[in-house]
Symmetry: D3
Subunit: 341 residues, 6 copies
């Protein structure tokens, strides 16, 4: 396997009121660009991986800005298609304490939702093999996006790429029924499945029986069963699950599980004071991919992914701005937070 990763999906304009204001209070929005697969791409580029992000954005200054955001952080944008009418937008109110963060999507009719099959030349994109990553958001955007994702999986598999998928269920985009159907077909091509503590239930009906994710504590042991069942059904080489225990919008416990079909590896658990939790799962997925690409041991893979995504929660924006050294420093130090000078 070489060091090239391709991710495919939507990149959106994110608009957030500054300083924890609510949308009705603000007269400015902070601007970043992000989306599940784009966030993974930036994380990986920050680790020195040769990363391509594939999408379609309109031929105007906003579409250009999305591309520039990716280029700025080292992602290759050579295969991004220009066209369509608009870029998806999401409004984010950052929560605090008992006030949850709140997202308003305005992503319908985006260029990528209306992309067509022959917009993308997957044979060209996947040349020289490597790794292909997508999330459950991409096929949920539109039927055509689902079809394109399936096509990409087929060609990737044919060309010998490793394929990873983050289940990433979004209830505003599709029903659990449709998600289950579409994702089940895609999972045939997937080597590594990644999800959060409720994705397996929402997409495939595989439930951690005694756990209510809206309460703080999780029964972590149940996730052994979840991952085992995922492997049983789809034959994944690895299943990786984030285990968020949400104490409040400001404080979370954060850990993860990696299952390689044989052993269950639970990571250290971090208590995080949150700066920006959007993209936490994506940074975890990138950590898993990097860990496997760099041929770390499973125990080290999950520690890397969890430490990396722990750091993401402390960084504004959707994307994780840390390098390998910084992740390893956290693993070593345990997060005591002394000033580096």
């Amino acid at each position: 396997m070489n060091n090239k990763v391709v991710t495919f999906g939507e990149i959106m304009l994110r608009l957030m009121p500054p300083n924890l204001k609510r949308i009705v209070q603000t007269d400015a929005f902070d601007v970043v660009y992000g989306g599940g697969e784009a966030n993974v791409a930036v994380s990986l580029a920050n680790y020195g991986i040769d990363t391509y992000f594939i999408t379609k954005v309109p031929k105007n200054a906003v579409g250009q800005s999305a591309i520039n955001h990716l280029r700025r952080y080292g992602v290759k944008t050579d295969y991004i298609i220009r066209g369509g009418d608009r870029i998806g937008i999401y409004f984010l109110e950052m929560g605090a304490s008992q006030r949850p963060s709140s997202v308003i999507y305005d992503r319908a009719h985006s260029a990528i939702a209306k992309a067509e099959m022959n917009d993308f030349n997957w044979e060209e994109i996947f040349k020289n093999d490597g790794w292909f990553h997508f999330t459950g958001i991409t096929p949920a955007i539109s039927d055509m996006a689902a079809a394109i994702t399936l096509e990409a999986c087929k060609i990737a598999k044919k060309l010998g790429l490793t394929i990873s998928a983050d289940l990433n269920y979004r209830k505003k985009l599709w029903s659990t029924e449709k998600a289950g159907k579409v994702m089940s077909e895609l999972m045939q091509y997937v080597d590594i499945a990644i999800g959060n503590e409720e994705d397996a239930e929402k997409v495939f009906g595989i439930k951690a029986v005694n756990t209510d994710v809206n309460k703080g504590a999780l029964d972590l042991s149940e996730y052994k069963e979840v991952s085992k069942e995922l492997v049983r059904r789809f034959g994944f080489k690895y299943v990786a699950i984030t285990l968020r225990e949400s104490l409040s919008a400001s404080d979370n416990m954060w850990s993860g599980l990696l299952y390689d079909g044989t052993e269950y590896y639970f990571s250290k658990k971090y208590k995080i004071h949150i700066v920006d939790r959007v993209g936490g799962g994506d940074s975890f997925a990138a950590g898993i991919i990097y860990g496997l690409l760099s041929e770390r041991l499973p125990r080290d893979v999950i520690e890397f992914a969890v430490a990396a995504s722990c750091l993401k929660h402390t960084i504004p924006g959707d994307m994780n701005m840390v390098n390998v050294q910084e992740v390893e420093d956290l693993i070593k130090s345990g997060g005591s937070g002394r000033v580096k000078r």
Copy 2:
């Protein structure tokens, strides 16, 4: 005639990079809400007129913010319908010197574009008569919006309201052919027509023959013919035209013409150093409406409208934030700009 004005149209979220940055450079957007008819409504509310704005916005925090923006400046929002999927958005790059301001519209599929005929109860809205104002943007949004505008005109006429229309041609919304057809039908109900130096040509093919609006100077006398022809065709009581001479994105000459079917009244001409020219035409329309409502003489009506809209060019945002006293102070002082203290 009483002192109540109803305007109908779209209100959009406006996103503008601060400090004259281009969109590709910014990491924040300044936020205001605006739109042709909403801008007229706020101007009139600032003059103490009892003003209602009619539209449809989604039932989320962004839609609420648009309503709050109107309420803040005194517009009554009782008849605004909540529903639909999104609010229209426009991105504005403020220009300077030789760099023109640039607008990217992302307004398709907005709640108002998808509004339905029975969303609005015009009999109720127009009760107690008054004044109805719309612009050429509203019927351009969608066929249904055009149909609703026509219905509103019919009921307004039936109930004895005065009707004004700003031609406001937007080439990104419809062709000159379609505009001509739709607007011609609407004009039957209109008492006062308002336009800029190229609207009559774009919508009805009535051209100021020797004038190229992309050059600085206009041949003002030609606009006598334009307004005369407008009255001839549609029987307007008044035609009011803004006469912008664009020296650069930073400096404009600004004046106006009012024709009452008999006399031509040209206003004083102002040389404006521009802060924000968006909404300049709307503030002129509001000035015409206020001038006529307050039963000023034609000469005073056009001076009021031009002075009011001159001030708009010095105020950030789409909307004119001046009261009657401030407009009259400008007419008296001539704009020497001494500090008021």
Copy 3:
């Protein structure tokens, strides 16, 4: 009882250094407008209640801005009187951890402090009955303000309105002696008394004996005695008390007690990571009023008020920007803070 609430008091310009700076460090102030009764009014308007705020503000752009702030959030300002010389101002340094928030008042000589008896036509204001709310700040502003408050209470009572009062003792405005005397007279007209954990002591000398409010923990049971004594003295229908346990300027425990003359209802207790605690008590009062207006059970009233005011602590500014749904979501979820998307 209908759904109309009138509140009466002062609205001030609030000036706060951004980003937790001290006043000596800042070169900008964040601006909002607020005051005890205005904050209650906005909370109630956000719950869909027909709310009027009564005050007097100067006839200049700052006075207008205060009115606009209220209008923006849906409060009716029809009866606000314009006049006087200035609007009250308060400077707020937001504290953090061991550094307490600090307020500098510059509110003397404000328009409302110098308002006169016949500025307000209470018969007109209270027509069609409803609910009247004031706080202990209003009569403390000036002797005339106290006299106007008394007059308002008398007319409200005569016209059959429900009257609520938040004791809200402010030591910089008057002595405990004067407060006790003036407030005792006003209490004769009051149906619902609201206070924090020290107001009853400061205003009426009714002390929670074993509790030092400057220490973290409160002996909650003592507040049964406090509320019982309040009912005994003044015959209130309800007494509602906020129970803040201040761990630091950043972290508080927050709960409340409602006493209906028979039963004591203690709410759930929240541990809050504070964004802005100013207006916490006002949002609680608004929650009590809304709960009673909506004819909830006492247990649900106090849970609503405490959850609502818990959310206030997470929102910048004096005013609570939440709707009924959001409060009820917190009551249901318990505040785990998962992202809403």
Copy 4:
């Protein structure tokens, strides 16, 4: 004469909406501190003069910030008295083009307005002689402030200081009648009188007959008569007058006249594109004082003062932030504005 200058007056908190917004639009204020005599003091400190500012400000963080603002720019604050209830405030809307800048004063009841005669020990303040400067604003603040100013003049004269006064008429503070009476008495002690193009008329009824200052152009020659009459009446050694021709709020012509009782020295005239014109007159006064203190020739004094105050118009805030070299560079270069690198 030594190099020490004492100025006496009020320093206010200035609150200005950023980015040319109107007050009703803003949710932040930019903060500086300024006032006629404080502005002169900072200008002089920037020229290396040993400068003291005398006032009274409250003993709170806002009063401290005013002092810190002065110290930051090198003014000595040793004799500033702490006490009183509040600092004066003024709200400034920066104008543009035809929209004039607008000031709302909220300065009544300030610490300095309520200062008492024995707050200031003028014998101590004026020890070692030097120069005393005040403006017409100080005696206008309150009768006591006028009495204190008179006392200061008497002691300054007795101790041999040079005394300069900027007439600085403020119509919101007193009538022309009262100004004339109070200022006439003070003028007996004054050596150098400074004013703008309308002060002499407003305070002493000495009018430039053919000039309307609200129109752009001034008849400069008339100011010879004005200055001659001032010398005739009060026996000043020098009269210095700023000659502002206000084309708009954005563009002014700016020059000055110095009369030494014999010759009239008109400066070069600058066309200024204005950044912030508040404090323009104060920076001119400081230029006159510096020019005379440094024993320049009259022609050079007026060129220095006009160039210095020309630069002030390009600098945000009330105070002129330029050193002697920068003023002299402008005199030499004529203002072609090439980058200094």
Copy 5:
């Protein structure tokens, strides 16, 4: 000739107080990265040219940010060397009206100033030929930088690249004597020489005799002689000169001259209201390079370069953010600045 351009030099961190503040007034700096050759690279990337920037920056987050700034705008950074201690910094005070912009350099000891000959593999960098551009700043940074530039020129010439040089004299970096000596040697390899209205004099003593660049007007015809003499001495194929007439820091006249050894082509002259004039010359150089690369006629080359650099003056930051279409639109429209919507 292919479409690949390589530029070599220093990229600096630029720190500028916002809102026209002076450095002593600010508590924040706006951040961009820029430098003569980097600015040319970004301009060209915006025109779709395959552009590489060569430099050395330290291996820390500030060095990374400089690289990211280049990548964001499409410049290839593959050959940038990481190492050294620091990145050069410059502080910029943006001037206005009579106040000139002012630059404080803090660029000594930068990574590129201390770069070594074998840091750069020019054979590799220049493979597949193309175009090489540098400015007079690069050899002025250090003797080694001059030596590296010479080496680059030799290899570029050997490999058949076209070489352009912007004379760009910086008096704070070296004397006119040293500049003349070093640059004369480098000029042997140069095909196209670019300069401003005083570079030829400062570097080679070739003076436009009757022109004082500190005054507004230039005698344009003299620049025919300057360019002719440059060609005579060094045998350039083209000489291009910017002709800035500085009316003030806010307003400039801007035009240019291209000499092809036979004909003199003077461009249209623009009156520019300046937003940010830093990088104006660099955007002109990029326009010349693009014009020649795209094989336009000489007359069109100079119009393109002048229009492009005219637009640069309206854009914040060092770098020109315009595409080919926008430059051509200006050439066509003449800059009337009507809104694009």
Copy 6:
């Protein structure tokens, strides 16, 4: 001993991305000026001590701004030398939760690092005796800075000043070997030694054996041994040590130890939610100096120093902006954080 304190060292420009952004994400820096000894000076000036800061900064606007920052907060800058090429700069990324704050120094070649022995006239500076304070950073800057520090110590001792030193080891400036050698010589003149929980080990090899400062908890009792050994070796009158237990970048436990050669005084321990921890140690040193200058009992000295520095952690910037009253209020209240109004 009188009330005058002199501190000597470097003041740097601090550049920090706002809102917890990383450097690669920001397009602005917040600006303050700070440095160990300058921070101590400002703290002391805020306590009303007559404080002088001694350094050398360049003769440009950035150097001037550093001086102005000191003057603003009441430090006397009369003896600061102007000259040299640059001011030291440090970039600060504020950390959060598991992400540590990170500092990039760009301080080489600063004016103070290149200062010369005869830049400073210590006899003059130390006239009228008082107190001299320096930190281990100053001699680490350059050999000459070390020599100047030694000279200052000798003259201070000769003139009878009390001398305090904060060990303040900076590994990026020198090795532990060199630090040990240089500091040991300086310690001969020092009366009061101050350090953090690892300085004694890094500089003198005196280790708290069982403690790993990268882990949260410290074995406080070990610091008795450390301070005892310091007194044994160097004969200090007092040793004061800060005891930081770093739970994360957001949360620290904070206490201190004072040893007077006989007794060990441990302070109350605070759990701090951190706003800005830079300068925490400096504010502690200032607290120790103030406590001893004000002749408090040792127990009160350490409580004052720890409470003062606890407050520093809640204040943006390097410098502690609190007065004596505020520190004493914290000692009394224990930090419950109720609003002061």
